[in-house]
Symmetry: D2
Subunit: 410 residues, 4 copies
């Protein structure tokens, strides 16, 4: 937990600055594009994270608070129905106004108001709690920012790079398996720090012996699957998955392309020749599941992943190599892609949602999504913990997702 | 298990006859309608179940088998890609030919061929196994037949009854709860009889103390939810659910309608004034979940439901009152509606699919569906068992589904 | 005009019987299919034409008229909003009830009521007028019946024939052109017989010298266009047309198919090897226009077609060879396919719509449709006249449409 | 004709500068938005008009011409299939790159290259002709620019004004009718100046006596139609029109809104209280046609409109009041809204398309569109002429369209 020890105002300042810093490489025009519904304009992320502080903290904790602009209340609400009607998600990219500089002015105003408030109410515990939620919320949007920026740049025929830092080459890694015996395990959060409602309560599960690959599936391994006709063999696919790849002409991971006879992968470091040793990224659940089946393996459950993280890399995930925006296996100590699990996203036994507006944070999405575990290169330092549950729909691919294989250990 | 003790030919004859018998009340025109993609024409069910025996048994076990009509191979394949291309599900209702009498002739041919084969190969164990699968398959389609017939009649402005047998009135039932303590339980099938691959293997789970309502939620109770504004309160709904009911203008269960100030429910016994004591039926997961939340309860998990069935009604489900085609709580000993569980439909630990064409029976649908437990008024006698897992998508309502509430017992 | 001279009751009886007779080759199952929105179930045509007499005549002219079934008022209204709400066109095929025999009983009831009325009111001129409209309306539906039956049988993998009468082979025909000089011409109807409102008033147009092919484009000629890459050359196509054929993978006329290396054409006489001398049929406006452009010609205007018909075949179109249900050029004296014109379907100068419910007959469709002239093999004897205007949307192909080329005569 | 007399380089410079000047009030973010498929990002217009000169002139007339950026060839092609594949129209708004300044650099490069070329080839007649086409093309996009900018600003909840110049109030105007007798008239272009291929050849038509309103229908008059229930009376509407307004919940002109009890109209001068004397604008063909029917009038044909313009305002349309971006009837001498005609957009007799890439300019759109005549406040000075034919689909409303009534003069 990053914030409990820090002075709240310092934590606030630090997280808020990072969002703006992530956008520094962008052109003004990049801030408003929304090439598909799920990808939001970077400008929107900068505004929505500010709206969250305004709505949840300033409007409640600050006497006579004056909103920066009353129309933003509707405009930058993402999906909180208890906070009133909101602008349609699919239409975010149609909003040329407010401009980027107006949004930055909005951020500045929120920052000043928040810092003044924090100075005044140093001992308000409930304020600290929502502050922490707001900061974790902003960190989630920092990861989304990188995902969305990558998509906006990646569909552009000019394929502009986000950074000109070079991407180190991958290294050949030896297969290795983590093993775990049968028995009762405990997963979920019960520490003193921050965790989302969906990580609680800590609870017992009965687990069967399994093995988990120490490594993510590499581009080279995935290429074998493709070359073996994996995408045209219905026996490997979930029914909805096979329909999906056929309706959308999907025959390779999201950012792969072929020029003449060379495969390329678009990364935030530019469009680069595919490196066979790097982990395969931007994979849907459908693809991960089909690959695992082709390998006579399966995807892990989220319990298996959590036990794995408890055991081996409890401290991991907090220190992704700075300046790198693509998974790179030379830093083997940390997860660099979210791993799909076979677990549908459901409530834990005894689940009780956050109260207030945050009740809508997690619970209402527990339908038709799958859990991903670990973290990724785009996850902000200090954001992740072992009990962390990420979730996406099985067809989605624009997040930094990868494959970790599991098998029954019999 | 119904068939293991019976003489195979008798079991075959009996199941096959029942399908045709279920269609007796139909007009020829009813056999071809397909009012929506998921509802198949009754004619198609009669043909497809025959196709299953042809494809899985006759083509494999009978030397020099001559197909009744080679074009049926493609026409009546539902979704078995290993058996070749198939006619689009959404286009089944466009096929006026083969006619009903041609389909009945097809059934007759299959029956004769099968009975001849069974006479000859009395000791072939593998044949007995696929025979059993084929019969359970046909029983599943018998339930679908009643669901689909109900839908075809129910969208018709004439609202024709399927049967003119009277429907007994419901009785007021006192609330009662089943209780279960914390601990390790075992669910799944490991008997000697027939079970689908998705019910296996038997395995352990850790379970927390819970209560389960002995009764299904009644129409009258559900009406209170409606009258309290349940359908327009977003806080009660899953996000996808609230979108779904609004896009489709859903404000009540599938077969309810209002004439002047009276509520009616269309049943296979005709369009009847809503009986407040009967269980509410034809409910989506979204509705079941919202109702449970409104009641400050939750839906049970499938493990909880299976433990409940193990304990209380192991023998139940096999004797629905004959001649009744709508749930009726005067027969309290049996389940009469499938109960939605909060469990996404997933593989059990150690799951291994059927082999051959039947590999596509269950596993490829383990995505974005929820498990229902129990059985329903339309389930054929002898089909159900405690470990049985039914599954549907969360928006679907045309099956005989209902609500059984659960709560944590703390 | 066929009816003015006939005894009304005889005309009525004759037209009504013909509709039922056209359905004689059908199986009961064929009566309810609706493979696409624009194709109505044959049962629906039989009922709707009866509804028209009930709504327009019996309800108005018969004292204390009792409807056969009040629910039919909504069910068999096609699109007359002044007659109240109507069942959705796209959902006609979902109605298994009323059954075919109920619909025939409905027809029988209407026939009896009508004949009784006609006997009584022999001198009511306004009644005669709406009777005539009702009979022409039914004749239009007789042509639609054959179009729709052909479509229902033609999408069926069994490709059942409507008639087992043999189809005579086409004959090679020499090219010949009709020529017409510049000047003022008159088109439109001003006779004493029946004509639709859209054919009136007779009016003058200024016309430039043109030539019109005496023959329809043949299958063989159209095949040259295909083999020359016509369907993949965007320069030949209207913009909307090129989009349409690509989105729908259209590469040949509607009923053509290729088996091994042989081209077949499905006809009401069965699925036959393509006869190169017969006229190409079931062509969209987009295809007709592209073909004409490829031939360095153009499609005629509707004025040019009407002048052509005035001059050369005034008596034509009334005697299609009986027992033939596919165009056959051995009967050169009559048109056998509707010819696409380049004229958008618009009101004539001074147009005044029918009054009453019939106001909705033509005028409200004058948008985004093109006029076809002539008549076709499916047009009932006596229905057509020189001023007749048929109209369809440019992508539609299921009517008996063909191509007659025109060119400027300079 | 503006260019024939001018020195080509001066005309080029003047037209090109005006496009950039029209964008001066925009924020960078406004340049990339595409709120619906038909509305293109302003940045795209600036680039596409440059692409046109590059593709049609520089690549052909300039020896060893080096493209500014080869990828622009595909990116800024609108729909010219003869010039190769092109970026999807609906995806233009997804392109954050090239940035506005890159596009301005592109324009600068094209301008320099073109001016150098024009200096060199002063006597090349064919160059002059395509130059003229390119300049008229750019002028068309200047009008589109204002339409699209208005839409981008108008869907924004902030409703930003394009100009802060005040909009003069409308004046009450007395009804007056233009009258024209029966006979042969001539329409179409045969002058020496520039005209599009679709305006040619000049040709005769036979016309019936008619009257045409001297004034456009005003907001106040249109409001009466609304208040009389015009939008919910199916008898007034084309069938496709009634479906369209119901599916899209259309109950008033595009830019009208109601706040409390006051009607507002969004204009490029800001969101203003509706002025009842100003002409009603941003009306679909469906709405114009329904209004005319409600008034017991009709829309004029394009021939009637051209005769009207020939007679009364031949010099008109060339001098819209500068600095005004909304129709204003105090300048009665000029048309300020395009008037819908009842004429489908078709080829004139003897039509022959431009050759080369420009063949795709007009002819391929002659399907399912209606002609509009006159010009509008956004039409560049000097662009319009009496024979000018504008065309849009009947549901479209974002152009500056209005209603001029006609009636038969009997």
């Amino acid at each position: 937990m990053i914030f409990s020890d820090a002075i709240p105002a310092d934590a606030f300042r630090s997280v808020r600055q990072r969002s703006v810093k992530l956008c520094e490489p962008l052109e003004t025009e990049d801030f408003t594009a929304q090439p598909c519904t799920e990808v939001s304009p970077p400008k929107w992320h900068l505004a929505h994270t500010s709206w969250f502080f305004e709505e949840v903290i300033l409007c409640k904790y600050k006497h006579d608070y004056q909103r920066f602009n009353p129309s933003f209340s509707k405009l930058f609400n993402s999906y909180y129905k208890s906070a009133g009607v909101h602008w349609l998600q699919s239409e975010r990219g149609n909003l040329s106004r407010p401009t980027v500089s107006e949004v930055l002015a909005y951020r500045h105003y929120i920052d000043e108001q928040m810092l003044a408030l924090l100075k005044k109410k140093t001992d308000d515990l409930s304020l600290k709690q929502v502050l922490e939620l707001g900061l974790h919320h902003e960190q989630q949007h920092q990861e989304l920012l990188l995902m969305d920026i990558k998509y906006i740049l990646g569909i552009n025929p000019q394929l502009p790079a986000y950074t000109d830092a070079p991407l180190p080459k991958g290294e050949k890694i030896q297969p290795a398996w983590f093993e775990h015996p049968e028995g009762i395990i405990e997963t979920g959060y019960d520490g003193n720090g921050f965790a989302y409602d969906n990580e609680k309560p800590k609870h017992k599960s009965y687990i069967y012996p399994f093995r988990l690959s120490q490594n993510l599936v590499s581009n080279g391994e995935y290429l074998e699957f493709i070359e073996d006709g994996g995408y045209s063999n219905p026996a490997l696919w979930l029914s909805k998955g096979y329909d999906f790849i056929n309706e959308n002409n999907i025959t390779q991971p999201l950012y792969w392309s072929r020029q003449d006879d060379t495969l390329f992968e678009f990364t935030l470091h530019g469009n680069l020749p595919l490196d066979p040793e790097l982990p395969v990224a931007h994979i849907s659940y459908f693809e991960a599941d089909a690959y695992a089946k082709w390998k006579a393996c399966r995807l892990p459950t989220e319990q298996e992943m959590e036990v794995f993280h408890q055991t081996t890399i409890a401290e991991q995930g907090t220190t992704p190599p700075s300046g790198l925006f693509h998974p790179n296996n030379t830093h083997a100590s940390s997860d660099q892609l979210w791993c799909w699990t076979s677990s549908h996203y459901s409530a834990y036994p005894g689940f009780s949602p956050f109260s207030g507006m945050a009740e809508e944070y997690n619970g209402k999405f527990m339908c038709n999504q799958f859990v991903l575990r670990g973290s990724c290169i785009a996850t902000p330092p200090g954001h992740w913990r072992t009990s962390y549950r990420n979730f996406y729909e099985p067809h989605q691919r624009w997040m930094f997702s990868g494959i970790r294989l599991a098998r029954d250990d019999t």
